[in-house]
């Protein structure tokens, strides 16, 4: 393998040859494919030096936009469809199991454990909503003690992690299914909202001619011993962005009706079905 005077034609092989002492076969496989695709991209588009430098600056700025409460690289992965592709590859669910969707960049660990019937709203605003449902096995049996980690935007369309005016765990909570597999919490109807556009990802969305909107949804991670956890959403039926979600995450099986009940309060019913681990 020549290691000097490397031309456009033989650079890729020279870089790959340097993996000869890589001891982890899976890491070698990942780096081999990454280097091949990265080089193929550069060659295919005939990347100019100015474009390369814009790319360097974009990648740098995306990293620097991240902090304890913001993950701009997850957002980038989301808007480029990579997150949903990874999800599709890793969560092939059997018929009847609740489908997964993107985790998103706004999950915060450590949400408080709340009793069924409690509200996740620590401040006002929004249309009062009751969320009820059950956690079931694939054969329809109730799963008791399943944990439902729940989060959503406040009425101002921001997650608490985006909004210093909100308490850290506003619109977040962890519930447990009861003996009948049932859960119940109070919230407000989620609203459609833009992903953050004040960072590098906002700039490329704009440059791509894309809107930054997500259809209204409530996030869930539902887990129970002996079952595969599912990270998913319940989307609000009728939302204008269901067919153009900026992160490509909508599945029809996850769309639910937020229906008015007596007294003008909204109610949504959704049952989760978990695949065995």
């Amino acid at each position: 393998m020549s290691t000097r005077n490397l031309s456009e034609a033989d650079l890729t092989d020279a870089v790959l040859a340097r993996l000869e002492r890589c001891e982890d076969p899976r890491f070698k496989e990942l780096m081999t494919a990454l280097i091949r695709h990265l080089h193929a991209f550069v060659r295919e588009v005939g990347l100019t030096e100015a474009e390369w430098f814009e790319g360097i600056k974009f990648l740098t700025a995306t990293g620097q936009k991240c902090d304890a409460d913001r993950q701009e690289y997850i957002l980038l992965s989301d808007v480029l469809g990579v997150s949903m592709l990874v999800d599709a590859l890793n969560h092939k669910k059997p018929t009847g199991a609740t489908e997964s969707t993107v985790l998103g960049p706004f999950y915060v660990e450590g949400a408080p454990d709340l009793a069924n019937g409690a509200s996740i709203c620590l401040s006002g605003g929004g249309e009062p909503t009751e969320v009820r449902g059950r956690v079931l096995s694939l054969d329809g049996k109730p799963i008791r003690g399943a944990v439902l980690d729940v989060w959503q935007t406040a009425a101002n369309s921001l997650y608490s992690s985006q909004d210093p005016q909100q308490e850290r765990y506003n619109m977040r909570g962890r519930f447990r299914s009861d003996d009948k597999g049932a859960f119940f919490f109070r919230t407000v109807k989620p609203v459609s909202y833009p992903v953050p556009t004040d960072g590098p990802v906002g700039k490329i969305l704009n440059a791509m001619g894309r809107h930054p909107m997500r259809p209204a949804h409530i996030h869930f991670i539902v887990s129970a011993p002996g079952y595969e956890p599912v990270a998913t959403h319940i989307f609000a039926k009728g939302d204008p962005y269901l067919d153009s979600d900026v992160v490509f995450a909508v599945k029809n099986s996850l769309v639910a009706d937020f229906k008015p009940k007596d007294g003008g309060i909204l109610e949504v019913n959704y049952d989760f079905a978990l695949k065995p681990a």
Copy 2:
């Protein structure tokens, strides 16, 4: 184009379809190729969620390692051979023209203008060396007033931008060719050195089983009105890393002999030939 229930098979087309309102044809071309290759990579290796998250953390950490004096993303591009590939695509030089090589992450703008014969060493250590040569046109005519922006490591193998003990412009300077196209400066012999290994790039070099060494070299950007500037190096003949440069930058035409002259001082002669703009 379906926009819900996207599977592994149709996600890529769905993401590409969202470029329909992209107004810049070149940006659209770049994003189309980028999305295709990124998705193909994920699909080809069957990226797991844990691997995806390691990737997110790596990209984030790489951005966060960058500051005014350190560019970890350029270093990443360099060690993956991307920088030399971009160089090869953009600098196809005619026979006789000085070949370009990687700029690297250690260039600092604003180095002082120095007179021919001056030394770039503001502190001690190393083997005293005189660097002489000419800047020529392709037909061998001297180019007067060409600017040679020069930088290299100090004897401790660090660039001033890596080392708070060095003055900002230690081992850096800008020279101009005289009426005969000649330049001359004093320095110390450059040493082979490791690229920084205390960041994310160091970690993946280690995981790939690669050493971090570059063969000894002096950096130059040579420019003159009417000519295409060239960013290049002079490498030291005999260096043990000429055949395994961590950034794949060695070209035989750039290797020069650092020869002892009277009094034990080293001397290197190198002529640059510039391509017309």
